[in-house]
Symmetry: C2
Subunit: 141 residues, 2 copies
């Protein structure tokens, strides 16, 4: 059965790229450089439910996205979280935080409604991620 | 230099056991089965700053603790998070969530002050974790 992205996740995000095991999405919130990784596996809601070989690759991608987000302009701390209380499809948040962001030092989850990107406003971050993760993306659409 | 646990983390937690690479702590909040793993490495605040061999072992312990917490009575969802906005020493939260817990479906971080365990009240959870993770603990203090 082909992988199907949860409609709620799809509605809240912009597609960036397909990494080897995860789809790399951008949360459509201009206030934070906020990546979301979704392993292309149906029916899994917990990290520990992944097969060992899958989880190793997923975590490798999470760590590489974490490094890329951490290197983005203005990011002082990276927050990584797999919650899934509302959307059960396994997805991992990788959020670049700054002492000047609206939710600091609390978590971004549940803080306030998204502020969607204006047209083209997401491009610097998307370009940064694609450059930093090029070795994971090359040869893929 | 020997590993030193951040004093703020030490004050908020109860020591459970030393796993091969992480100290396993219990957040001293009786409302949630809430484990905290602290890799015994000084000066690291991001998961992606760990050496690859370290991060693989740390994540393995996180996933095994996640499975153990997920199997605990009443847990319906596991939340995993590495935030560190306030305490910079790398630590990974593994929180058992329930639709009946006070913060549901929001994150536990920043929700409300801890409600410490009464004497002995933490013992069922500690016993469960030690049993579930016995293969990681055996031979250690």
């Amino acid at each position: 059965m082909p992988f199907v992205l949860d409609p709620s996740l799809a509605g809240d995000t912009l597609f960036v790229s397909a990494l080897p095991t995860c789809d790399l999405l951008l949360l459509n919130d201009a206030r934070y450089p906020w990546a979301v990784l979704v392993p292309r596996v149906n029916g899994v809601s917990e990290l520990h439910e992944l097969a060992p070989a899958q989880s190793a690759q997923v975590i490798d991608e999470v760590l590489q996205v974490g490094r890329a987000v951490g290197d983005y302009a203005g990011v002082e701390k990276v927050n990584v979280g797999a919650l899934g209380n509302i959307v059960r499809q396994l997805h991992i948040h990788v959020v670049g935080r700054s002492t000047r962001d609206p939710a600091w030092p609390g978590p971004v989850w549940g803080h306030s409604p998204r502020v969607p990107y204006q047209s083209g406003e997401d491009q610097p971050l998307v370009a940064h991620l694609k450059l930093a993760l090029g070795h994971l993306i090359s040869g893929r659409a």
